[in-house]
């Protein structure tokens, strides 16, 4: 795998292979010495144009467990108008000798631009780009669902027949996009629930079911309910009237948790707004996978960094040039 830029590009076999490598990596975490020598001598740069302590430390832990050298580069606010350009930053990292760049960027498509630019020859891992994709988050979510369902027997399995309901700000969510593509590729049925203001135009053509009413969606008892974080700035841009109304209509509160029943997982990519999109009761419930998601995130990112840096070719993998849509 040369890069990981999106889940839309991942084939089913390829996705399962990544999750299986992540299972191997998870085993490392149970050892007394939580470290493998696999990436000794390799340099991983965490290039963050946007603050995200959680994602950065997860990638950092993953790289360190594989014995890679890690450099954290915070380039917040960089752009053509405000200081150093993506090109100059990339060429600087190339000169330093980065073998892989983990990039978080506020602009959709920036990881693809970086990967295809010729400015740097390193493997590129998308750690979240604008409102486009966050592929390692979707992989860790799929990994978490698979582990909850199958435990130690998860290897080799997909998510056929699993029902997943994603609730909240789909329009601005890279987590939702990456999950839609990956979970459906793995055979899951995905339902999106949100007010129409927070659903993108054209969502009818996505491979999902769209609904507005959370109570109806919960009554269907999906295997997974995934709550998305609501950004406070959305309230000031007329997407919904205020936090109270949003919470009443689309928040997972204690009553809805009860209605959901004990067999459904409750997921959240974090950080949570407790009391807004999710109640503390739901967040801390036995169904909640929030902390497992964090732990699994390290395993999944270990797998991705290992596959990118070792140049392992996965079954069903496409080349980057095949993935581009140019007419």
């Amino acid at each position: 795998m040369k890069h990981l830029l999106s889940t839309r590009d991942l084939g089913r076999d390829e996705a399962i292979a990544i999750l299986d490598v992540a299972e191997d990596m998870a085993d490392v975490a149970n050892r007394e010495v939580k470290k493998l020598p696999a990436l000794r001598g390799k340099t991983v740069v965490n290039l963050f144009f946007e603050d995200s302590t959680r994602t950065r430390i997860s990638f950092e832990a993953a790289a360190k467990r594989l014995s890679a050298d890690v450099i954290n580069f915070s380039a917040k606010g960089s752009s053509v108008s405000k200081g150093e350009s993506l090109k100059d930053t990339a060429q600087t990292l190339a000169a330093i000798g980065a073998d892989a760049v983990v990039i978080r960027h506020q602009s959709s498509g920036a990881p693809l631009v970086l990967a295809e630019s010729g400015w740097i020859d390193a493997g590129v891992v998308n750690a979240g780009d604008g409102t486009h994709e966050h592929p390692t988050q979707a992989l860790l979510d799929a990994f978490t669902i698979r582990r909850r369902l199958h435990g130690r027997a998860a290897r080799g399995k997909a998510l056929d027949g699993v029902t997943v309901t994603i609730v909240g700000d789909i329009l601005h969510s890279r987590v939702a996009r990456s999950n839609v593509w990956l979970l459906t590729t793995l055979g899951a049925s995905v339902t999106l629930v949100a007010p129409a203001t927070l659903l993108p135009i054209g969502v009818a053509e996505w491979p999902v079911t769209v609904a507005y009413d959370l109570d109806d969606a919960i009554a269907a008892r999906p295997d997974v309910v995934m709550m998305l974080r609501i950004q406070s700035e959305r309230m000031h841009a007329a997407f919904f009237p205020n936090a109270r109304e949003y919470s009443r209509q689309w928040g997972l509160d204690d009553e809805r948790l009860t209605a959901l029943g004990p067999d459904s997982m409750v997921m959240h990519p974090g950080p949570m707004n407790r009391g807004l999109e999710i109640s503390s009761g739901a967040a801390d419930s036995a169904q909640s996978t929030v902390l497992e998601q964090v732990a699994n995130g390290v395993s999944v990112r270990m797998a991705v960094l290992y596959l990118v840096l070792s140049g392992t070719h996965l079954a069903g993998e496409k080349s980057v040039s095949d993935e581009r849509t140019v007419s």
Binding site: V80, S108, A110, L112, E116, H132, I201, W206
Partner: protein, 447 residues
């Protein structure tokens, strides 16, 4: 006495074959010419089109000379077959005073490759709050007749009404950049399924259509003339068609890129495809072609928008909007509407020369290539086919969406005011142009 030029055996847009003799800046003889000339151009197999007139060009000077100058933009125009361009007002300082428009005009005259007609800003600093000195510009040496805040929309309905009325006072026209600003805050590409998947903020068609609908109704109410810049959606075509059916005095333009390219190109986040208005769906491309064919859309205009390399060599959202278009325009028009049977070459002469000149009130283009008419034309080889690359560009910008693609046709020669600006597919040098241009000016003064 200026050089006489004889063009042998050119094919006119109506299919006739003719020799064309130019003397003192005019077409002196047409048909079978036996007179001698200082220079003979063999045009066997070449199409003679009246000089192209661009109603929508960004020459960037004054203020943004790193992107383009009046001279470099004029050279890009000439190599594209143009003999006149209208320079948009979004310079720095903005062309909102007589001083700036006269400066742009005189820079164009000094360059000598094409006629440069300045467009004046509708509002001071393009700020959309106060009318600029429209009368001063209209009565200046530049005699401005087209006014536009292009790049920005005159979105305030009352101000637009007043602007339509006030400009009518001087026989001018408002060229509106139709973009509802609130509906396009942060917008990056056409809003639709693709923008949702790419995670790029959508630019809805309604943001263009709503302004056009409002403006045609305002134009009707006050009895003024309106020109719609770079219309890009099927809905906009419908609105203009409806307005024309009601007798509203509106004209509309479409760019070559909106006749050929679709939003699918944005899939790779290549910022060369980032443009305002954005590339639309295939249905929209078909609709603007149909609108051009049935006369709903009156003209083609390039919206040539050069940018320095660093403004495009970056992530999509940081990149500037715009494409260069002068050098590729005629080839793109051939590929999109001529080779597809939507227009014939007579239609091209109409929508890319006669009518844009009429909208801009530029004299000399009404009769096309005709005895006694100013010698403004281009010789074009429609059978040529070439991979379009940066060696084809003559302006400063290389932000062309056509690089590495194969385009039909090539401009072989361009004649402006009776002297050649392009010969054998290459620009005539600036010194020669300057000499010819001064000789013509002297001739005009003494003649």
């Amino acid at each position: 006495m200026t050089e006489t030029i004889l063009v042998r055996s050119a094919r006119l847009s109506d299919g006739r074959s003719a020799d064309i003799l130019m003397r003192d800046g005019l077409v002196a003889e047409l048909g079978t010419v036996t007179s001698r000339a200082d220079r003979v151009i063999d045009a066997d197999g070449l199409l003679a089109l009246p000089g192209l007139v661009d109603l929508h060009t960004h020459l960037r000077e004054p203020g943004f000379e790193q992107s383009e100058t009046v001279l470099t933009g004029s050279r890009a125009a000439a190599i594209g077959g143009f003999t006149a361009v209208h320079a948009m007002a979004n310079t720095s300082p903005v062309a909102d005073t007589a001083g700036v428009v006269e400066q742009v005009q005189s820079l164009g005259d000094a360059a000598g490759y094409v006629t440069v007609r300045p467009i004046g800003a509708v509002t001071v600093g393009l700020d959309g709050t106060q009318l600029s000195e429209i009368a001063a510009m209209a009565t200046s040496r530049a005699r401005v007749r087209v006014f536009s805040d292009d790049g920005k929309c005159v979105s305030d309905a009352l101000l637009m009404r007043r602007a339509l009325e006030y400009v009518a006072t001087f026989g001018g026209v408002i060229a509106q950049h139709s973009q509802e600003p609130r509906l396009t805050e942060g917008a990056q590409m056409n809003e639709g399924t693709l923008s949702g998947q790419l995670g790029l903020a959508g630019w809805p068609a309604v943001a263009e259509e709503a302004i056009i609908a409002r403006d045609v109704l305002l134009a009707q109410h006050v009895g003024a003339r309106l020109h719609v810049c770079h219309l890009s959606t099927a809905g906009s075509v419908e609105v203009v068609r409806w307005a024309k059916a009601r007798g509203i005095d509106v004209t509309a333009e479409v760019t070559p890129h909106h006749l050929l390219l679709t939003e699918q190109l944005v899939g790779g986040y290549d910022s060369r495809y980032k443009v305002n208005p954005p590339l639309r769906r295939d249905e929209d491309v078909q609709a603007v072609r149909a609108g051009l064919a049935d006369g709903t859309i009156d003209i083609i205009a390039t919206d040539h928008a050069p940018h320095p390399l660093e403004s495009k060599e970056c992530e999509w959202e940081a990149a500037a909007f715009g494409m260069v278009g002068l050098e590729s325009a005629l080839s793109v028009v051939q590929a999109s509407v001529v080779d597809t049977g939507v227009l014939d070459w007579t239609d091209v002469a109409r929508v890319f020369s006669r009518i844009p000149a009429r909208i801009g009130q530029l004299a000399g283009y009404d009769r096309g290539i005709d005895i006694g008419a100013p010698a403004e034309f281009t010789l074009y080889d429609p059978k040529a086919s070439r991979v379009f690359d940066t060696s084809r560009l003559r302006g400063k910008g290389v932000n062309s969406p056509y690089l590495s693609t194969t385009l039909p046709g090539q401009v072989i020669a361009t004649v402006h005011r009776g002297y050649a600006t392009v010969l054998d597919g290459e620009l005539v040098d600036a010194e020669t142009i300057s000499r010819h241009s001064s000789a013509q000016d002297a001739g005009v003064r003494h003649g």
